[in-house]
């Protein structure tokens, strides 16, 4: 299903406008980080730890320094006292502080941790020099299993964190004990999801420039949050924030991995200042596998207490997340553990819940935010258990979900995790998915069996996704960083064209196209007369940035507010120039005109007059055409969906193929339907990858075993079926009725595919608790390969 009509009802919002943003990209004229070249630019390579846990007794750079073409080798010792290391962000549930030096000083705590930065005339020479650096490691015992790492006798990754807890929280709401005591049925299940990473096709990178313009330091960085980068650069480099300019070039994927603050880019910026020359660092894929944040790697033990009708009375969960060696800077190690446990209820009516969640440090790459963070694993574990509850009560997966989803009539509904659900179509989405999939026939076919011997599995998953969070919630539970201050500036230019400026970088989701569409409708200005600026702290107003499925809500809301003010100013001048009351005027297709169209003036002419013949217009009517507005929706807007996955399992090889996939989504009012569709299908693809293919493997000494793209497998065009996408949208309460759509789909995909595989195995008397559902795990689940 592809959206058709270029314009729908002559409105820009709701039309699949072809994005101007895509033009340079399709023509090969993108400017990604590695495309940036400045005269005299040096290149950086990092020497990285070969050990998961070791003392650094000595780092001898003598030989490396002599290599022709080497400019400088920076060590952790040299940075001591000059820059501030990353101390884990304050979080109410911290188990202790983790301090991460930009370059390791006394200790390395994960394979791949940066030890030295080699600056050379070219990257190859820098890598040559790395090979000549001699490091005297004193290996220390490594911890790699959270369940062992939390034992009292386990080696500590950070002395300040007892039991290696970077985060630990217990929470309860409602009388959970009573619910379990009085329940008609209690079901419990273990769930495990492996470690993964965003695998952006473009890995990270940074160019630091000294006095490239009026700013002392210009930093080009492949990142989702330019203003946040600027803030922390200023803090850590001890520069005035106003001396720094941050520019985000075209970005080849982000997905949250490019939303953390990492040492390498900050080292790069430091070097540019120190050497007074442009310095570039491009993360190659080998580095990316160990240096950029990982995600998931969770064990969940979940219980449901239900009544005889299958209504969930309470849930209780124990969560362990292997958060790696450091509390990721900006978000803290709390992200995954707190979200997984805290958002467990999903779209279901759950009055009572309890959890104990732990972020346990190990000697692996730190875990950071990645698309939907804790929600996919929370949802998958719950969906699998709901299916089990259904089996116990002889209720079909659809039936038991129907009994538990929050219905529209109950909304606004405050769930056991204190989130209020409103304006979201959980049940209609499920009904739509069931109808469009031909669910009953699917089940019938499943009973009849496949002639080719494959095992058919059907999985249903419903999800809730809180998008467009405002200041009512912090960036993550327990963190003290609140987003919610994102501005959009609208500026009418001297020719009557409009510029929309916002520091909301896209990595393909066409945010500025969407903002232009909103501005076009609000102002009556033609889309082709509207341009955008983003990605540059010198040109766009303050914004927290692109993450957490927020830009559609925030950006649109701010655009609408700014547009209303700007419209007022334009019409005031128009009324003066046309000598009519302002209430008689409107703007259509970049022309200011009376409602009866008897008088009009083109915006171009109005603008030129206002700028160049300003004395002919009363000053009080001509305050300028630049308007900046913020929008804080305060509370988030729930998006939701129901996904149905159909899989075929080969009982001889264990291979799983997704043969059909139906998604029914509520993502609010659509701005650009084709863009939304791309986001949803892309999210589903990543969820299928999570369910079946993607896993970062470590051995017991903390050595990574999945080191290249031949080892870490992401879905190709053959692993993703044609996605049948349907909508049951209801507007949110936010300005414009918009919702975010970047992350919901991955939640539905992990859940539905996990349930489908389990369904296939359970029909044969087997089961599966660990994902990705690799062929080997499937065969073990079928009892074909006995678990060792």
């Amino acid at each position: 299903m592809t959206s058709d009509a270029r314009f729908v009802n002559l409105k820009a919002v709701g039309s699949s406008v072809i994005p101007d943003e895509a033009v340079p990209l399709v023509e090969g004229d993108g400017r990604f980080l590695n495309d940036i070249k400045l005269p005299g630019m040096y290149q950086v390579a990092f020497l990285r730890s070969q050990h998961a846990h070791a003392r650094l007794n000595d780092v001898d750079v003598g030989k490396a320094r002599q290599l022709p073409g080497v400019i400088k080798i920076l060590t952790g010792k040299e940075l001591l006292g000059k820059v501030d290391p990353f101390r884990s962000m304050p979080n109410r549930f911290s188990g202790g502080e983790s301090i991460q030096h930009w370059l390791a000083v006394d200790k390395v705590r994960f394979c791949g941790e940066a030890i030295c930065a080699v600056v050379a005339e070219d990257r190859a020479t820098a890598e040559d020099a790395c090979e000549l650096i001699e490091v005297d490691y004193e290996p220390l015992p490594a911890v790699t299993d959270p369940r062992l790492a939390e034992q009292d006798d386990a080696p500590l990754v950070h002395d300040a964190c007892k039991n290696n807890y970077l985060i630990k929280r217990e929470y309860q709401r409602g009388d959970v004990d009573a619910a379990f005591r009085n329940a008609h049925v209690v079901v419990k299940r273990a769930f495990r999801i492996g470690r993964k990473q965003a695998l952006c096709l473009e890995s990270r990178g940074c160019v630091g420039g000294y006095r490239e313009s009026t700013f002392t330091l210009t930093v080009w960085i492949s990142h989702q949050l330019p203003y946040v980068v600027r803030h922390y650069l200023a803090n850590h480099l001890r520069l005035a924030e106003t001396d720094i300019r941050v520019i985000v070039p075209h970005t080849g994927g982000g997905f949250g991995q490019k939303a953390s603050i990492y040492p390498e880019e900050f080292v790069c910026a430091y070097l540019a200042l120190h050497l007074r020359r442009p310095v570039k660092w491009v993360e190659d894929r080998l580095e990316n596998m160990v240096a950029s944040t990982h995600a998931r790697d969770q064990s969940i033990e979940l219980q449901i207490a239900a009544d005889k009708n299958g209504r969930i009375l309470a849930i209780s969960s124990d969560v362990w997340v292997d958060v790696g060696a450091y509390s990721t800077y900006l978000w803290s190690a709390g992200m995954e553990p707190l979200q997984t446990a805290g958002l467990m209820p999903g779209p279901y009516r759950i009055e009572a819940m309890r959890y104990c969640t732990r972020g346990v440090a190990t000697n692996k790459t730190p875990v950071g935010p990645y698309r939907a963070v804790g929600r996919p694993s929370a949802s998958a574990s719950l969906e699998l258990l709901i299916d089990e509850l259904g089996r116990r009560l002889k209720l079909d997966p659809v039936e038991i979900r129907q009994r538990n989803l929050i219905p529209l009539e109950a909304m606004p509904y405050r769930n056991a995790n204190n989130l209020v659900h409103d304006n979201v179509n959980y049940l209609p989405c499920l009904k739509l998915a069931v109808a469009k999939s031909g669910y009953e026939r699917l089940r019938k076919e499943q009973c009849e069996g496949n002639p080719d011997g494959k095992l058919r599995g059907i999985g249903v998953a419903c999800y809730a996704e809180l998008t467009g969070l405002g200041t009512s919630t912090a960036v993550g539970p327990g963190t003290l960083l609140q987003p919610g201050r994102d501005a959009v500036t609208l500026r009418l230019e001297t020719t009557g064209a409009l510029t929309v400026a916002a520091a909301l970088p896209s990595q393909g989701q066409r945010i500025m196209t969407a903002m232009r569409q909103v501005a076009s409708d609000e102002l009556g200005i033609r889309l082709e007369d509207i341009a955008s600026i983003s990605n540059d702290t010198a040109a766009a107003p303050y914004g927290f940035g692109t993450f957490a499925s927020r830009t559609a809500v925030f950006g649109s809301g701010a655009t609408i507010r700014a547009a209303r003010e700007l419209r007022g100013r334009i019409l005031a001048i128009g009324a003066f120039l046309l000598d009519v009351p302002v209430t008689h005027l409107t703007i259509t297709n970049s022309v200011v005109h009376t409602l009866d169209r008897s008088r009009s003036i083109a915006l171009r002419e109005l603008a030129e007059k206002s700028f160049f013949s300003a004395k002919s217009i009363p000053q009080e009517l001509n305050p300028g055409f630049e308007v900046t507005a913020f929008y804080d929706p305060k509370f988030g807007s729930f998006a939701g969906g129901a996904h149905i996955a159909v899989v075929d399992v080969d009982p001889k090889t264990g291979e799983v193929a997704v043969v059909r996939y139906i998604a029914a989504e509520d993502v609010g009012t659509l701005i650009n339907p084709a863009v939304v569709e791309g986001q949803i299908i892309g999210g589903i693809a990543q969820g299928i990858g999570e369910a079946l293919l993607e896993e970062l493997v470590y051995d017991e000494t903390g050595q990574p075993r999945t080191m290249t793209l031949a080892d870490y497998l992401v879905p190709s065009a053959l692993e993703i079926p044609r996605i049948e996408l349907h909508h049951a949208n209801v507007p949110s309460a936010a300005l414009g009725g918009f919702k975010g759509c970047g992350e919901g789909a991955i939640i539905g995909a992990l859940g539905s595919v996990a349930c489908a595989v389990a369904d296939a195995l359970i029909q044969q008397g087997g089961d599966i608790h660990e994902f990705p559902a690799t062929p080997e795990r499937v065969l073990k689940g079928l009892g074909v390969l006995r678990a060792e």
Partner: protein, 295 residues
Amino acid sequence: MKPAWFDYHVPRDLQEALHILDDAGQEGRVLAGGQSLIPMLNLRVLSPAVVVDINRIEGLNNLRAGKDCLTIGALIRHADLLRSPDVCAGWPLLAEATRQVAHMAIRNRGTVCGSVSHNDPAAEHPSVLVTLGGTVVIAGKGGCRELPAEEFFTGTLSNALAPGEMVVELRYPRPPARTGSAFVEFARRLGDFAIAGAAATLTLEKDTCDHVRLTILGMGQGPFRAHAAEERLCGRRLGPQQYKDHFAEAAAKVAADVDPTDDVHASGRYRRHLAGVLAQRALETAFVRAGGRLG
């Protein structure tokens, strides 16, 4: 991921190439397609001092489908095989296996001789060469020699080349009439390194198995020739009621005999299981293609 330095030579004739390789000894590597060598250089798992680019050498791009034998020169790319109707018709096992090699862009550059020389345990070509009873033609400063396929493959990523030698040609006998073949591979995604695979040829004389060859790949040490399984099948009557059981038995023997290693993609136990499954699939498919009668 930039390679370490090396000295690069691009000789115009074979003797010059062999001379340079001989001088370089263990430090020399042949660059043909580069699809195996260059990733290793980029990852710096290999840093040879000398790289000899053979792409300009005359006479190495011979591809000849003769009456009795197919010869493939050192510069023949995987894609060249697939574009040859004679190869596809006369050596269908080779064509079927070559289609599984990575993706088009790799097949356009990678060479068959290069894949054979590299002998990655997961690669398709070594096992096909063994199953088809092929010969490896080796050139060195001292002259040329030939080795039967099985003697060429000496272990994981190892071959019988002495330092300074290179493979210049592969020879594949033409399979006799009433031969069916099948190449079956299991990989996580199309084009990935195989976790396990089987290359089988089966020649029928009426219902009887006149000739069978079966090689398993992905077991960790290079192509595994399933001699015991072959012996079980050779001379057996494979009628419509019997063939399934015989193949199952042969497959079980394969699974018992292979000695696969664990790695990040699969455990040895899983590989062993797959070896049996794929051996059976390959034998059954080869049987059908040989004209075997089904029940």
